[in-house]
């Protein structure tokens, strides 16, 4: 009974629209010529150029530090908050507050954080980016874990409680294992979000520790180059792979 008919046209046109620019970019990253637009032959030389660019390596290291620590923080904060809201304090206001960092314009979050760090005379650097990224990443973890909690039955936890298991025991033996897929997906998504985040990092980072998106920004402002194409291809592939892995645990589209 599925009749899609002429509706195929907008659907496939939209997919082409979404993927064509990315595909062209990836294709051009293998161009032998350093003329950014003319195809002269296949080469992987721009990828080796990247590996020898100290700025790119440095940016990648900084980004990795930020993404790993911010993700650990986000998973702890987000998971606890999701359980707290689902099991102990059902409140729509609390739920709205928990998700706001994900919905709020990144620019507004960024200037707020900058103002906060300035007021408390906190120096800017990777530590301030980490604190800032943990904020919006935790909101995504909360959303994903909260979604999972709504699906799973709390009767197992209640049964364990009736059988005299302690609160701590219930948490580690029942709640946490049943949330594992959601927590893994939340961690993966918050890792990619942090890896790719530019606006908040741009405001809260210090000048001597640029993250990879800040490095990319300084490069793309000066136009098209084959090195950027190669770097962009790698960064896109990393995100795509991580999101596809996350997708195996939860439906990522439900958590947007």
């Amino acid at each position: 009974m599925h009749k899609i008919g002429w509706l195929r046209a907008p659907l496939y046109a939209t997919l082409a629209f979404l993927y064509l620019p990315i595909a062209v970019l990836m294709f051009m990253s293998f161009n032998a010529s350093d003329a950014p637009f003319t195809w002269t032959g296949f080469s992987t030389k721009w990828y080796s150029v990247l590996l020898h660019s100290p700025l790119v390596i440095e940016g990648f290291k900084n980004t990795l530090i930020v993404a790993v620590i911010a993700t650990v923080m986000a998973v702890i904060l987000g998971t606890l908050l999701a359980i707290g809201i689902a099991r102990y304090q059902k409140s729509s206001i609390l739920e709205a507050i928990a998700l706001t960092p994900a919905i709020f314009p990144d620019l507004a979050l960024a200037i707020g954080l900058l103002a906060l760090f300035a007021t408390f005379k906190l120096s800017l650097g990777l530590h301030s980016v980490i604190l800032s990224h943990a904020l919006f990443c935790s909101a995504f973890v909360t959303a994903i874990v909260r979604g999972r909690l709504a699906q799973i039955d709390s009767s197992l936890e209640e049964a364990a409680q009736d059988l005299g298991d302690s609160q701590v025991g219930i948490f580690f033996r029942i709640t946490l294992p049943s949330l594992k897929p959601a927590i893994i997906a939340g961690a993966l998504l918050s890792f990619t979000l942090s890896l790719d985040e530019f606006v908040i990092a741009f405001f809260t980072d210090g000048p001597s520790t640029p993250t990879l998106p800040i490095v990319i920004y300084s490069m793309v402002r000066f136009g098209v180059s084959p090195e950027i194409n190669a770097l962009a291809t790698l960064v896109l592939l990393v995100s795509i792979v991580i999101v596809i892995i996350a997708q195996r645990n939860v439906k990522v589209q439900d958590s947007l």
Partner: protein, 297 residues
Amino acid sequence: MKDLESNKERDAIQRRALLSRLIFLVPGVTYIVVLMLIPLGFIFVYTFLSRGTYGGIETVFTLSNYTRALDPLYLKVLLDSILIATITTLLAFAIGFPVAYAITKLPAHRQNLMLVLIVLPFWTNFLIRTYAWIVLLNTQGFLNQGLMKLGVLSQPISLLYKPSAVVLGLLYAYLPLMILPIYSALVRIDPAMREAAVDLGASPSEAFRQVTLPLAIPGVLIGGIFVFVPSLGNFIVPELLGGGKMIMVGNLIRDQFLKARDWPFGSVLALSMVLMLLLLFFIQARINKRILGVNHA
């Protein structure tokens, strides 16, 4: 005695419940309050303060930041930004609605695959997705060269660095955020309702207009907000695809904080953006309430 013991036991259980409530809720809530809500309070206070001589803030009360925002120069930037964001949102709806509707007509397993394909680009690096359009649209770029080879164009046309390029970039970035909520609204519609309308003599197109469309409105509104708000505050797309000639309110805010270092004025602009977001959510809630109210009656 027994009562006393069970009382004690109940107290102990309540204490434990309170303790776990605190353990689960306090860290996350504190984090959001300290890093988001209090800073937004700072921004609000800044709007009434003066700019320091060397940047920063001086605690001298003034309303001049607000009057300055009403200067025609800045008002034009604000209105232009609203116009660009509105056009982007309308286009996203015009494209997103048929796409979301088409996905609901696919078999279940294909629906899931399509949704993943639609959201996947959204999770990738925003700067790179925007940059990809420069590669594609540049006068020496892929599209121009291709069209010239095919003989459609005799000389390259300039596709970048104009408002339409900004709209295109924003549309590209946020279209998935329109499709998803419309899709979720559409799949939740009980097919029995449409069948009932047809049984009562409605033609398929009437059933679509009278049943499907109104019930999709909540999804359309959420999608609209999700596209409009980030489009309005975006400064990357106007800078990269607008060629820096196009200034939107996001660029203005960024410049006040990082270049001009006029934080109080930047705060007024940011506040106007946040208030617009709140207003949109308020309107959305009101319309939703009316639609649901009609359905319940």
